[in-house]
């Protein structure tokens, strides 16, 4: 569906990393992890076509896959007088002709996605007044209302409390199982990403490191320690992978 063949990521012609290659198929769940400023967002923005690759090409299958993008909820302005319904309906904009008003089908799909994600009760509430978790769900509904082939999430659990994180991850797991769409998720907490992803991209531009492959193969202390440039322990607790940063050894 998406193939990056020796693609050089970067900004304004300046490369961030050595050339990278990955291949995303329908039904894959990719977790993209790495330290702050490692190039995770640059990778997903390059894949969806928002940032041009410095070298190489992002090859997309024909017909072109449709992307549904979920930004970090706190990156959006709180000043727009928009209801949750308005925000989800925005996801249908690309499907409307110029000047066309949303049809009954668009409104029905919007209601359907809000209900499916458990947000029907707040459909007419101001988006700005929702909690972080509610906003994130509404933004997911907006991405899903366009019936995407690839769902791209930029740190969907950033700034959330534990129950909020858990509900988002459970929803993503269910969604992935039901719809079999490809999912690309940038995450900060590797333990969380490891619970949902089938594949991982480990990225760190500062150490020029990029590894991609099945999650089971990459979730090792050696791999993660290389990416984060410090000792990382990987343990299994009740079947779930837990990742801990360890103290740097002193000289």
């Amino acid at each position: 569906m998406i193939t990056l063949d020796n693609v050089v990521l970067g900004h304004a012609g300046r490369p961030l990393l050595r050339p990278i290659s990955i291949s995303v198929s329908a039904g894959d769940f990719w977790g993209i992890v790495g330290p702050n400023g490692a190039g995770k967002s640059t990778l997903i923005k390059t894949i969806v076509g928002l940032i041009p690759a410095v070298g190489g090409a992002v090859q997309l299958a024909q017909p072109l896959p449709r992307f549904g993008y979920v930004p970090q909820q706190h990156a959006l302005s709180a000043h727009y007088p928009l209801t949750a319904f308005d925000v989800v309906l925005m996801g249908r904009t690309g499907m409307l002709r110029l000047g066309q008003r949303p049809k009954a089908q668009d409104l029905a799909r919007t209601h359907e996605e809000l209900s499916r994600i458990g947000m029907a009760a707040v459909a007419q509430h101001q988006f700005a007044a929702l909690s972080g978790g509610q906003k994130q769900r509404v933004l997911m509904a907006r991405a899903l209302v366009s019936d995407p082939d690839v769902l791209v999430l930029d740190e969907p659990t950033a700034g959330m409390d534990l129950p909020g994180e858990e509900s988002i991850l459970a929803f993503l797991r269910r969604l992935h199982a039901e719809r079999k769409m490809a999912v690309l998720m940038v995450g900060h907490h590797i333990s969380n990403v490891a619970r949902v992803a089938t594949h991982l991209c480990l990225i760190n531009k500062d150490t020029s490191l990029f590894e991609a492959g099945p999650a089971a193969a990459l979730l090792t202390s050696t791999c993660l320690s290389r990416v984060y440039n410090q000792p990382i322990a990987v343990e299994r607790v009740n079947g779930a992978v837990q990742v801990f940063a360890q103290e740097q050894p002193h000289d």
């Binding site: 923005k45 969806v48 076509g49 928002l50 449709r66 992307f67 549904g68 993008y69 979920v70 930004p71 990156a75 959006l76 302005s77 709180a78 000043h79 727009y80 007088p81 928009l82 209801t83 308005d86 925000v87 925005m90 996801g91 904009t93 690309g94 409307l96 110029l98 000047g99 509430h125 101001q126 700005a128 007044a129 929702l130 909690s131 933004l139 907006r142 991405a143 366009s146 791209v152």
Partner: protein
């Protein structure tokens, strides 16, 4: 009462000016909602200042080409429009959105206009009236210019409203969904540039800037939907222009300043009404102190 009677008796004198002021106020107040929500309130200032350089350049070239046929090409109205459009392309770009670019454009163009005006062989009062309009008396041709600009603005926004909303609220997601964000931003900023340069010439710089900010802020204090915000802003702007014009006649006040003053009062009045954000407050669930782990442990 006497002033009121004489105002209506001399209606034929003010008719064009009031029509132009109301049209400009309505269009700028509508655009103001976008400008305020996009947090680019300095852009109208910079655009009107850069387009004023176009007017001075037009006068300067015309004075050089006096008697030549080509001087008709350098009409101040066209030149102000062309100069206003150029920065619109830059401001629409993510790199140009920051306030630094707009402030630099404002300062450099203000200095350029002043420096160049010294070389213009025309009465400075004439240049000033073309540059900033008077809002008191306007030429009938201004109704045509403003009317055409409002028509173009209306058509573009009817067709592109939903796309403008998506790219303004969340440009990254809009881009990922396949919308060409920069192209749509340019189109939106071009409508700002056209309306601001035409309005600055017709009603003056102060009211043009005032109408792009105050009615939108007042409407955002009251409205809970985008549609209501646009309708309220347009109404507040239009009423401020008409009422301001009337009051300036009755009380013999400067017209542009009175119109802005009325719009300012509308903003202050709406600030006293419980606002959308206050109505939309989220509620925090009170914590039961008996469930406090630290207390139970101790």
């Amino acid at each position: 009462m006497t002033e009121s009677v004489s105002f209506w008796q001399s209606w034929f004198m003010w008719r064009d000016a009031i029509i132009v002021a109301a049209l400009c106020a309505a269009a700028l107040s509508y655009l103001g909602v976008w400008i305020v929500l996009k947090r680019v309130v300095y852009v109208p200032l910079a655009l009107s200042q850069v387009s004023s350089v176009g007017v001075v350049v037009a006068f300067f070239i015309c004075s050089l080409l006096e008697g030549h046929r080509t001087s008709a090409l350098f009409d101040p109205a066209w030149m102000s429009l062309v100069f206003g459009l150029v920065p619109a392309f830059y401001f629409a770009h993510p790199k140009g959105e920051g306030s630094n670019a707009t402030v630099v454009a404002y300062l450099v163009s203000a200095a350029s206009a002043l420096l160049l005006a010294g070389f213009v062989r025309q009465d400075l009062h004439d240049v000033d009236s073309v540059l900033f309009g008077s809002a008191v008396l306007v030429e009938t041709i201004q109704i045509v210019y403003v009317g055409l600009a409002v028509l173009a603005l209306g058509l573009v926004h009817v067709f592109y409203y939903r796309r403008f909303l998506f790219i303004s609220f969340d440009p990254t997601s809009a881009g990922a969904s396949g919308l060409r964000v920069y192209r749509h931003e340019v189109l939106l900023y071009v409508t700002f540039a056209i309306m601001i340069s035409v309005s600055t010439r017709a009603i003056g710089a102060l009211p043009a800037f005032g109408f792009t900010v105050l009615p939108a802020l007042a409407a955002l204090n009251l409205a809970t939907t985008m549609r209501a915000t646009f309708v309220l802003a347009t109404l507040i702007g239009t009423l401020s222009a008409v009422l301001g014009y009337y009051l300036s006649f009755v009380w013999e006040l400067p017209t542009g300043a009175t119109m802005v003053g009325v719009a300012g009062l509308a903003y202050v009045a709406t600030a006293w009404i419980p606002t959308r954000s206050r109505r939309a407050e989220t509620y925090v669930v009170p914590v039961d102190s008996s469930q406090n782990c630290a207390r139970n442990a101790s």
